[in-house]
Symmetry: C2
Subunit: 254 residues, 2 copies
Amino acid sequence: MGTDELYPPRRLAAAQRATAAAGLDALLLSPGSDLRYLTGYDAHAGERLTLLVLPAEGEPTLIVPTLERPAAEASPAPATGVRVVDHADGTDPYPLVAAALGGPVATVGLADRMWAEQVLALRTAVPGARQRLASEVLRELRIHKSAAEIAALAEAGAAIDAVHARMGEWLRPGRTEVEVAADVAAAIRIGLDGHEEPYVVAGNDRPLAAGMAFSVEPGIYLAGRHGARIEDIVVCTTDGVRRLNTTPTELIAL
Amino acid sequence: MGTDELYPPRRLAAAQRATAAAGLDALLLSPGSDLRYLTGYDAHAGERLTLLVLPAEGEPTLIVPTLERPAAEASPAPATGVRVVDHADGTDPYPLVAAALGGPVATVGLADRMWAEQVLALRTAVPGARQRLASEVLRELRIHKSAAEIAALAEAGAAIDAVHARMGEWLRPGRTEVEVAADVAAAIRIGLDGHEEPYVVAGNDRPLAAGMAFSVEPGIYLAGRHGARIEDIVVCTTDGVRRLNTTPTELIAL
């Protein structure tokens, strides 16, 4: 599967329309799953500023440290239509944010996991702008998976199955957890995001729709003793549910 | 070395005095190195709120998810004098923050890497409080290492030396990076923080003092080809410098 299918330019355009519809002037996205979702750039979160400035209208700008520019250029980001600008060590990167916004703004949406040091710096660099969370805008987009995303999840499910199939071989007396973890890491080879919407929890009255993916993970924990959990990835289709990993859940004695 | 030496209760008291001296009413610390520095609790950063509320005067409160309470209780935190309170899934944890502050506050210091979703939630939960960064207060404390911390760094240096000593054995044709990484992880067994103050960079005119530790890491990078870096941990003493790792830096052909 090509990265252009996983990170299509229309995703940025859809995010811009949703940003405008939510009454925000721009999204400001530091490294994390939102940045990766929109541009395919799996950026390093460090003390140097990396930020996607996505105005509701106009050209998206990806601000990166000069050191990281080659990584940003090599990522799917340029093909999605973002302009890359960089800042050298010892220079203030925040004027680049104001410039990329292209004018005064009233409200911005910040990546949910942006660091406080950047949140406060942006409050100074974009004075008077009300800060909200980008997830208000992106949650609805991310919750509906494309065919390419579901194919990627199915690949992940297959990788998980492959790991389970070999666990009997890997989990043997005398082996350390580190050794088993190395086996699992070598077998998995594709990235997986952590928890995200839609959450199947009490109080969530969101209707299900085709293209929504869930992690279903019932667990039992005996305090101070041990616990066990079964995790399945399932996707909602037009005529039911499709499980993306297929390992049987019976208890197997090794 | 006992954890009570590494995380002494007087460190919280010193942080409270520094908080007051900096004109802040409280520090609000989410999982990260500041929380760990003050309480020894190496908390999991997740979607559930974990927060140390450290008022300039009064009792420190560690707010944790109910699920994490056993981990918090088992950490060095209770011995440093913090009170642990927990919140169950489905309940709003932010009223616990207001309660732990014990009254209205004008200015709070947030962990530098607190997530934006918590920064904005705290703006609502502690209305009218000006938000600054906790590093304004903690940087000066953390920069001066205690004898116990220097001993821990020396242990880390010895672990690095032990890894270097076996690299010739581990780095062999046919082995994967994952296998070598597992060997390194198994050998190191102690945690290391990332970069922190004092930074030895152009423009930093901070005078050196005994107890300051530095990572000295000259590197050379050939664009598009490869790079190499030497990293040493050194500590400033009253009569010079002490290097905490001792592996020779000559080029060795394997």
